[in-house]
């Protein structure tokens, strides 16, 4: 959790509204528990009048600050809010001090230059102190293997996740497109014809005598799919020759075709619930035959 260290309310202190910098806030992390190589984020927030501009040249440059301190990252954000400029300067320091005991170090202060009506104004960002600790004991002990330092970093084995993912996805696409093509070329007729009457039964279950058109079309579609071409009443013998199992239900098939002819081509035909039941029974019978249970 970041700790707000310093808030200077310049306007409030002076009682004047003409000060160019009204607020300077320094947002810093905890001031203790750092080790060699740690990064320390540091945020400076400045609020100024609209006419005041922060001179980019005065912002600290990345690189070495001193022997043990590097400035790795500098980021400036600027926005206007309620008629005032809000500058947010984010700095990321990295400390390379190797203390022999817990030691207080200080990130040095720096000066920002602001420009108002051609006049330069200096604003000092105060120094910040923190504690750094040693990572190891003072004396250097060798292990039983004679090792006094951490071993080399070993290379990780190369990841095969990406090619495996590629193989799986490409194989899925290949299988689906190949399967679809095989179906289009008629290489998988059995698979597509196997459940025609089951689907017809499912559709019929939702229909009533008022939907007789759909009910008849549904059964016709099932027979046509099984026959691989439209099946008419006159062709049923040829159908039985190729599908002998269905011959056992020839009476129901004959009734279906006769009923369908009368329904579609005679005037005044009224469907009753019994007809729908007969159609359902026909489909159930055909379903038993197609799944081989009769």
């Amino acid at each position: 959790m970041r700790v707000l260290l310093l808030v200077l309310l310049l306007t409030g202190c002076s009682g004047s509204n003409t000060d160019p910098v009204s607020t300077l806030k320094l947002e810093t992390p905890r001031p203790f528990g750092y080790l060699i190589g740690d990064e320390i984020p540091f945020k400076v927030m400045i609020e100024t009048d609209v006419g005041v501009t922060l001179q980019a040249a005065s912002i600290p440059a990345t690189g070495q600050v001193n022997r043990w301190l590097n400035l790795n990252q500098v980021q400036l954000q600027q926005r206007e809010l309620h008629g005032r400029w809000h500058y947010e300067l984010e700095l990321r320091y990295q400390v390379f001090y190797a203390p022999l005991e817990v030691k207080l170090l200080t990130i040095p202060n720096f000066t920002l230059q602001l420009l108002q009506n051609g006049k330069e104004i200096s604003q000092i960002v105060p120094a910040w102190a923190f504690n750094i600790s040693p990572l190891r004991e003072l004396s250097i002990r060798k292990t039983a293997n004679g090792e006094y330092k951490r071993p080399d970093a070993l290379p990780l084995l190369l990841s095969t996740t990406t090619p495996w993912t590629g193989v799986v996805i490409a194989l899925c696409v290949a299988v689906v497109s190949g399967f679809y093509l095989a179906a289009l070329y008629g290489l998988l007729p059995r698979i597509f014809k196997r459940h025609v009457f089951r689907r017809a039964s499912q559709q019929l279950a939702k229909l009533s005598k008022a939907d007789m058109d759909q009910a008849l079309s549904c059964v016709h579609h099932a027979f046509n799919t099984l026959n691989q071409r439209p099946l008419f009443h006159t062709q049923v013998h040829d159908f039985y020759r190729r599908h002998p199992n269905y011959k056992q239900m020839h009476e129901q098939v004959d009734w279906f075709f006769n009923y369908s002819n009368r329904y579609f081509f005679s005037n005044g035909m009224i469907a009753v619930a019994l007809d729908v039941d007969k159609l359902k029974q026909l489909c159930e019978q055909a379903q038993k035959i197609e799944r081989g249970s009769q």
């Binding site: 202060n109 190891r136 080399d152 990780l156 190369l158 095969t160 193989v167």
Partner: protein, 188 residues
């Protein structure tokens, strides 16, 4: 009719493309498998064909550098690492620099034990530089922190002035005291 033709063309296209991808990815998998075997062999301390290493991924060269260092072939290991300094992501680059630092530190320690201080000190300096670079790339690299501290103990850096009294605005690199070769042996 046009739609059917388009459907056929797209299906055949998808089939051919996916089969090509399968073939390509399978070749990649085989190549990765071979390289992983080479890495395992090198890490086990066994030699492999050099040509296979130089044609392979940077991880393979890192493994070869490790193998060379294990066999005390420091110059070859340094050359191998120097060739992959800018390869891979930040984490990999940090590893390369860390291993580089370990080679320098190990050489320095051998020189210190042989009382060759003049050659040991520059090597420790190089080791510290390599560890600092590794930590700049990955500040959470604990082994690099530890070894940098070891190198700092071997060759401490001390400012001429006490830090509390130091002028904080001075951004010039401070002049160092003379270096102290060898590790401190601890308090009595």
């Amino acid at each position: 009719m046009i739609l059917r033709t388009l459907r056929h063309i797209s299906l055949w296209g998808a089939l051919c493309l996916s089969l090509m991808v399968v073939a390509h990815q399978t070749i990649s998998l085989l190549s990765l498998h071979t390289e992983n075997q080479l890495i395992s062999t090198l890490l086990a301390g066994k030699a492999v064909d050099v040509n296979a290493v130089y044609e392979g991924k940077p991880e393979l060269r890192l493994a070869r550098a490790y193998f060379l260092k294990q066999h005390k072939r420091y110059d070859e290991a340094l050359t191998a690492l120097g060739q992959i300094m800018e390869k891979g992501d930040k984490s990999f680059q940090a590893k390369v620099r860390y291993n580089l630092g370990n080679i320098y530190l190990e050489q320095a320690m051998l020189d210190v034990e042989a009382m060759r201080m003049n050659t040991a000190m520059p090597l420790v300096g190089l080791a510290k530089q390599a560890y600092r670079q590794a930590l700049t790339l990955d500040s959470g690299f604990w082994d690099a922190k530890y070894n940098l501290e070891v190198a700092m103990r071997l060759l401490p850096e001390m400012d001429r002035l006490n830090l509390e009294e130091e002028d904080a605005s001075n951004t010039q690199k401070s002049q160092l005291w003379t270096t102290v070769p060898g590790f401190p042996r601890g308090l009595p």
